[in-house]
Structures are given as C-alpha cells and as structure tokens.
Symmetry: C2
DNA sequence: TTTTTTCCGTTGCAATTGCAACTATTTTTG
DNA sequence: CAAAAATAGTTGCAATTGCAACGGAAAAAA
C-alpha cells in the first residue's frame, strides 16, 4: 500500500461520523455477506478469517485478515450461492463504516471519505493480488506443491527462509482446501526428506 | 456491467490516439505479464485464455476471455513467480491501449480516458467476481463437485439447465486444474448416473 | 489449578485421482 | 481433398488423498 494506512485510519476515526467501533471475542461472526449492507470494516486489532461453508460441511477459508486489513461486500458482491462469513479468530476490534455510495464523496467535509475514494483503487488491487495468490495455491495438483508454494510465498514476503504460519494447522488445511490429516502426513514427509524444518508453527525452508 | 460497453469501445476507438488494433491467429500470444507494460487490451472479437505454466509443465487456465472482455496487468500485478500469458484461442482482434497512469486523465480531451477512470471500479469489481468464482471452483475437493459447481454456475448464468461449455474439454480440465482423463471418467459416471446429459460440449443438468 | 476444549500428530483403509498409453473422431492446414 | 494435428474418449495401474478414528499436547475456560 502506497499511502500511510495508520494515518488514514486515525483520520477516519477522528473525523468521520459514520463509523463505530466494536469488539469481538474468539469465534464470533463479525459480518456476513448474505445481503448488501453498504458497509465495510477495518480490523483495528486481532485477526479474522473470511470463510464459507459448503453443502458438505467443509469449511473453506477464503482469506485471512490481520491488523489494518479492510474487508467488505464491495469486494465480494454477487459471487456465489454459499454464504460468506467473517469470523473473529481471537479478541478483535473492528471499525465499521457505512456508506450510501462508496464512490461519491460525503456531503460533509469528511477527510476520510475523500481519501477513501482516492485510494479505493489501491485497496481493490491489493484484494486482487490476494485472490490471485489463492488461485495459484489452489491450482496446484498435490498437497506437497500447495504447501511448498505457500511456504515459498511466506518466505518471500518475510525475506527469510524461516517464518511462522499465520494459521493454526487446522486452518491452513482449510485455506489450502485439503484434508488436515493428509496435509499433516505430507508435512511429515517433507521433514523426513529434509526439505523443511518444522517446530510447531515455525517453518524453515531448506535449500535442496 | 452497468454502462454500455459497446458504446464505450466505439468512443475509445474513435477518440483516443493511444490505441491500436491487431489481429491474432489461433495459438498466438497476445500479451504476457512478465514486466509492466502500462497497457491493457480489449478483446474486440474472438476468444482468449489467460494461462500460466508451472514448473511441472502443467498449464493452468486462470481466466477465459470472450468478446468485449478487458484484460491487462493492472488486474494481476505482482502476483506470482510464474509467467502469465494471454493466448488467442482462435482468430481474434485485440485493441491495445497504453497509458502513463491509469488513474489520471489524459492531458488531451480524450473522452475515452475520462470514461475509463470513471468506470474503472466497475471493471475491477467484475474481475474480483470472476476470481471469486474461480476460487469457489478450485476449492471443491473432488472432480465431481468441481464439475457440478461449474455446470450449475453456467446454468444459472444462462437461466437454462442446458448450456454449452465455452471450453474444449481439454481446456476445461486445465481450468478446473484436474487431470483430463480423470475428468472424462467422472463425466462418464455423471452420465451413467443420469445426473447430466452430455452431447459433445452441450450439457443438460437433470434434476435429481 | 482442574477441567474442558481445541489442536496436533498418527495410521489403516478405501476411494479418488493422476499418469501413461492407447484408439477414435473431429478439425485444421497444406 | 488428403494429411496432419488437435481433441475426445477409454482403461489399467500406481500414487495420492480423504475419511475415520485414535491418543496426546496445548490452550482456554471454569
């Protein structure tokens, strides 16, 4: 993101009358995308997942949100038959913002809203990048490839071959859309073949 | 799309000096997303696929484009390690447009460019919807589910239980990221179990 | 600090899938 | 039109994966 998101949020909280803050504890549903709410949310603190449950009861994690991430139905409108939820993964604080039309400026002199209109494209394009990463992961044909692609992605992001998985392993399986036990089996093999070192959620990628 | 894309393209071709048209025959690469080109393309006629080849030589079809679809690296920037290509699937005509900064208006009185800035959000949000559909498909755990989800999607789009697959079956397998022969086997089972009727590329979904 | 719940780690087994290797059919091209 | 290329359709077999069902460790709640 090219602009200062921290300052952006501060301006937002101080200047916009259409916002409110709310706390959520672990497991609570922050919002759902069943009908249009003309609202979006900024995660001020904590973490949350965008999830879907399909007819077979499988849970799919579409995206993982952490501090300062923005989510709202503008990014997901008219997608699927299934219902989408954002679930809090821990004690989280969320800033809600309601709008009539996201692309038109507030009548009032709301500094935040002008900034929003200005930077909306950036926000959206960041979403697109996230979605494309997810497609790349899901399009891999084996669990091994999915894991290694994801690990490589995390390593690149951190500029380090050691990193911490931002999910529980159970959630990682849902994110990669594979069976958890099968994923654990594959991780075990990756360890045995000395392709990775794994200590809990900390992974080190070894050069082959 | 809320605005008249046909009129939009017409204005574009007639008024903007930064455009040129080019024809492509089947199999030709229209553009690649290896480096930034500050350019995007409108498919005036024909069809094309956005594809990626991974290290194992698997081809993955990310998106399928038909008449009037817009594509360009603004939608895919900074995604992956792999190279992305747009390949023409048949005799196609493409309108190229180069820009310095997609969000700033032309210095000249280019009607097209103002329209573009105005409608860019819509275009991008349509992209997001496509990407989400693809994620939904890829996140299904079995070939059967992927096929049925895709078929349901096509049926919904056409308001009809009968529809034509806009891919060759070989390409459909790449789009769903599954082995072609395994997909064919699954289709055969779906026919035998009288869940679908299949005549070439024409599918009818039967109510269970 | 117990108790409860969630998460991790494992394994046998059956089902699904990918791979390879064909033939048949359709489409394209010289 | 004939030859070549692409696509469709099959099948056996091996590898991978999902499912189910555990026990143990860790984290959260009481």
């Amino acid at each position: 993101m090219d602009f200062d998101i921290e300052q952006f949020i501060l301006d937002f909280k101080n200047n916009c009358t259409r916002t409110y803050e709310k706390n959520f504890s672990k497991g609570e549903v922050i919002t759902s995308y069943i009908q249009k709410r003309h609202q979006f949310c900024i995660l001020l603190d904590g973490s949350a997942d965008l999830v879907r449950y399909d007819r077979n009861g499988n849970r799919i994690i579409i995206e993982h949100f952490s501090k300062n991430d923005i989510f709202g139905e503008v990014f997901y409108s008219v997608i699927t038959n299934n219902e989408l939820f954002v679930e809090s993964k821990q004690q989280s604080t969320v800033l809600f913002y309601s709008y009539d039309n996201i692309h038109s400026k507030c009548k009032t002199t709301c500094k935040f809203h002008s900034q929003l209109v200005e930077h909306f494209n950036e926000l959206v394009i960041n979403k697109i990048i996230d979605l494309n990463i997810r497609i790349e992961l899901l399009s891999k044909r084996s669990i091994r490839e999915k894991l290694l692609t994801y690990f490589n992605f995390l390593a690149t992001k951190k500029f380090n071959n050691s990193f911490t998985i931002p999910f529980t392993l159970t959630d990682l399986a849902d994110y990669l859309s594979v069976d958890r036990s099968a994923m654990m089996r594959e991780m075990k093999l990756l360890k045995e073949e000395e392709i990775i070192i794994k200590t809990g959620n900390r992974i080190t990628l070894l050069q082959h």
